[in-house]
Amino acid sequence: MAELVVSRLTKEFGAVRAIDGVSFTVADGEFVSLLGPSGCGKSTTLAAIAGLDMPTAGLIRAGQNIFFDGESSRFVEPEARNCGLVFQSYALWPHMTVAQNVDFPLKLRKLERKERKRRVDEVLALVEMTHLADRYPHQLSGGQQQRVALARTLVYRPAVLLLDEPLSNLDAKLRDRARSWLLQLKEQLRLTTIYVTHDQVEAMSLSDRIVLMDGGRVMQIGTPKEIYEAPANPFVADFIGTSSFFDGELTSGGATGRVRIAGDSEIAVAGTTRIPVGAPVTVAIRPDRLSILASGAPAPDEAGTALHGRVVSRSYLGGRYQHEISIAQTLLRIDGPYVLEQSEVHVWVPASSCLVFERGASRPRSAVRH
């Protein structure tokens, strides 16, 4: 099979630059997600890989096969790329039955009738749609249509499988089922796959690696763990983990540094070695490591800070409670098994859950503030 290389890919629509120098590589058999908010350029990138849009500049290569090269103006038509693209809309042809839809790519490849039948049966069995082979698309539910759409691309063993938000048209419950089914399929097939989504849960759970995009640029590339635990900038931290943010000034550096935030409080942070002391910084705090200190209880045996805050809201989520706590003009969300009766609390913020970014680079888009 093939690795897929995308290099300095740019696409302009008139004056608008929809993707701007995007580069990444997908190894043979690897499952990579293009993740980002809508309008970030992930679908445009996918269309460029599939050959549905002509990029403005850059290079796309699958193995030794150059799909697109802006310099030599080489452009391989979509039908010659042997990519399999599953559309968000599924794009099943309504005038063909399920079996005919799946058979279509095989007919194009001029396989013998018997062989085609074998492969269609095989792939329909794989997506558990054998019993509906003679139905027309409009007779199927959304989830069933999605499986047929996938079967139609799997049947011809594409060199690269491209999935464009395949789960977004499904309801929440079906989406969970489809996701675990996809995961199973991924393990079974090991196809080179690019998965476009705006849902970080899908990206996290399915991907070997994630390419996180915003505004037509790549923000970070890494495994789900790397991206979650070491986001390259506040945008990534925010998009992946719904962090809370404090602006402040680095007062001391080192393995455990300190940042002064509004209200003259200081918080202990980890990993500040590359930022000069005195620099303006943003601190991103992941909510899942925070805890409430019982009144008068000692601080835990780790680097961290106890911050005093006011409980602003309490909501029951079924089995647990979420509280919003206002600290130095910033809201922190904390989940816990018990409801907090008191109006003022101390929140323990471990230094290891505080990520520090030098300010001035990428700004978080949706940091929770008031």
Binding site: A50, G51, L52, M54, N65, S72, S73, R74, F75, V76, E77, P78, E79, A80, R81, N82, C83, G84, L85, F87, Q88, S89, Y90, A91, L92, W93, P94, H95, F104, P105, L108, R109, K110, L111, E122, L126, Y136, P137, H138, Q139, L140, G142, Q145, A149, R152, T153, L154, Y156, R157, L162, N169, Q188, L189, R190
Partner: protein
């Protein structure tokens, strides 16, 4: 289990590099379509334009360039009042045709109206015969001595209408063009997505509100196309202005051109050509406006990738009212004018002063079948309509596909080229082709064959077919082609196996329209037919001019019978329904 070596599939070896990607099978087909369209449209038009700018007939020596033709036309007596009459007539005709056509399209295509397939068949009838003959039927029923007029007069003392007015003529023309709007509308309702209507219903909209706010706006592309066509057809319509306008001395642009440029002892084709230039300018402006209105064609996509089940709208308590409305319309405006035509074909003459049942005769039919030239005109017309109709539909579908569904450079300009023929009156198209053929010696052999009629008709009706196909294409999501392309189909395969099958109802509509128009066309044939290539239209015109109205009616009856039989038969054969 999926990935064993034995399973390796042949890769599609169609990749190409650099320059060579411009000469794939698909781009070759696209180029051929563009070239054929440009040649077909401009071959007859260039001689006409040239004629408009010179001071003597095209075939004479010593030509000088001049603007006199244009200025003569603009300064001809009554030009401005004639222009005003023409615009009022065209606008009124269009409004009547669109309102009725859209209403019927929705009633038949989207609701549970009873007997709708029966009505669908009948409502199209006025389109089957030329408006010349239909106008004849109308004055036999609603003219000053028409049956209905006389009956109303005997009951109420006076009949409160006259056909000899712009209003009366607009009604006749509007009703005769209504089927075009209806057929275009049906093409779109067949593709409409019931979920969109359901969504409106679930927001609390009643059925009428839903029709108005969802169904109707989604028909916009087809409504705009048929409005444009009906408007230009009314602009260049000659027959109804001649029948009803001339006796009442209401002048129109085409009667002015016809009178001063063609049917005079001193024909002046320069003037006619100048008139064609003016019409072309108007139509191009309208096409431009239409394209601006349809700019965001994404708004009209109803066939997305997600499939859904077709469903009709329940009219509820309005069902009987709708039935009554359609029934009355059909009886008054379809059955009566055609029935009187059938009756006229079967009697020696028709007059309120002699009971018609004493006058039955088959002599008109007998006269027609006993002259080989008349029989030949029927046979020729059938061949032209079937063969030419199929050819033209395929050709127009290809134009629409290249214009709307290819990355061919400047493909969008093709749509303008495709609309040009609509602005050239039929007689002028005939003259243009005539010139093109006599001026280009290699094409001389085409003259005097029915092939040249097929070509001229095809050119003339490109916009009619285009209007049936293009809105349907707009409604098919591009994901349909994109998914075919990524699974390995090139453009041409995608077109053949995915897009064309999806727009099958629109293709059938286009074929039916081509068939119907080819069957009744006469104006473009007047200059092109020859002994051996007579068609029904020219024979009908000869009978008309000679005053043989019995034969006009008999030949029209044959025309309707053959058209009904063919449209019905081909629909059965292809398994296409006219609605739903």
């Amino acid at each position: 289990m999926m990935r064993t070596e034995a399973d390796a599939l042949p890769t599609l070896a169609r990749e190409s590099t650099g320059v060579s990607r411009y000469i794939t099978r698909s781009t070759a087909i696209q180029s051929a379509v563009v070239a054929a369209t440009v040649i077909l449209v401009f071959a007859p038009i260039l001689p006409i334009f040239y004629q408009a700018l010179i001071d003597r007939p095209l075939y004479d020596d010593g030509q000088q360039f001049t603007l006199a033709n244009l200025t003569d036309l603009l300064q001809s007596p009554n030009f401005w009042s004639v222009a005003q009459n023409t615009l009022v007539f065209a606008a009124a005709t269009t409004i009547i045709a669109q309102v009725l056509g859209t209403t019927f399209a929705i009633l038949i295509g989207r609701t549970d109206l009873p007997f709708k397939s029966f009505f669908a068949e009948l409502l199209i009838w006025p389109l089957y015969i030329s408006s010349l003959v239909l106008g004849f039927g109308w004055f036999m029923v609603y003219g000053p001595s028409g049956f209905v007029t006389l009956w109303v007069q005997s009951q109420f003392g006076e009949a409160p209408w006259t056909l000899y007015s712009i209003t009366g003529m607009s009604i006749v023309a509007g009703i005769s063009q209504m089927p075009l709007a209806m057929l275009y509308g049906l093409g779109s309702t067949a593709l409409s997505n019931p979920q969109l209507e359901d969504a409106a219903r679930s927001c609390g909209a009643g059925p009428w509100r839903t029709l108005r706010s969802v169904t109707l706006p989604l028909l916009m592309p087809s409504i705009l196309y048929s409005s444009l066509l009906n408007f230009t057809i009314a602009l260049e319509m000659l027959s109804i202005p001649l029948i009803f306008g001339e006796p009442a001395r209401i002048g129109f642009f085409t009667t002015l051109l016809y009178t001063q440029g063609i049917s005079t002892p001193k024909p002046n084709y320069g003037l006619v050509a100048a008139g064609a230039l003016i019409l072309l300018a108007i139509v191009m402006l309208l096409v431009f406006l239409q394209n601006r209105l349809l700019r965001n064609s994404q708004r009209y996509v109803t066939v997305g990738g997600k499939a859904s089940r077709p469903k009709t709208l329940a009219l509820g308590r309005w069902r009987l009212w709708a039935l009554a409305f359609v029934s009355v319309y059909v009886v008054l405006f379809v059955i009566l004018p055609t029935a009187v035509l059938f009756l006229r074909a079967g009697v020696s003459f028709l007059s309120p002063f002699v009971p018609f049942w004493t006058l039955f005769t088959l002599s008109h039919f007998h006269d027609i079948i006993s002259f080989p030239a008349y029989v030949r005109s029927i046979v020729n017309t059938i061949i032209i309509s079937v063969v030419g109709g199929f050819g033209a539909t395929f050709f127009v579908a290809m134009i629409a596909l290249v214009a709307r569904r290819s990355k061919f450079p400047a493909a969008d300009k093709l749509e303008y080229v495709a609309m040009i023929p609509r602005s050239i009156p039929g007689l002028v198209v005939g003259i243009g082709f005539f010139y093109a053929l006599v001026l280009l010696p290699p094409l001389g052999w085409l003259r005097n064959t029915i092939f040249v009629l097929m070509v001229a008709y095809t050119m003339r009706y490109i916009p009619t077919g285009y209007g049936a196909i293009s809105p349907a294409l707009v409604q098919i999501s591009t994901d349909m082609d994109r998914s075919a392309r990524t699974t390995g189909a090139d453009w041409w395969t995608t077109v053949r196996l995915v897009i064309l099958p999806l727009i099958r109802p629109a293709l059938f509509s286009s074929f039916a329209l081509m068939f119907i128009h080819f069957f009744k066309e006469y104006s473009a044939a007047v200059f092109l037919f020859a002994p051996g290539s007579e068609v029904i239209g020219t024979t009908l015109l000869q009978f008309w001019v000679a005053g043989d109205m019995g034969r006009v009616a008999a030949l029209s009856t044959i025309q309707i019978a053959v058209t009904v039989a063919f449209i019905y038969g081909i629909r059965k054969l292809l398994g296409v329904k006219i609605y739903g």
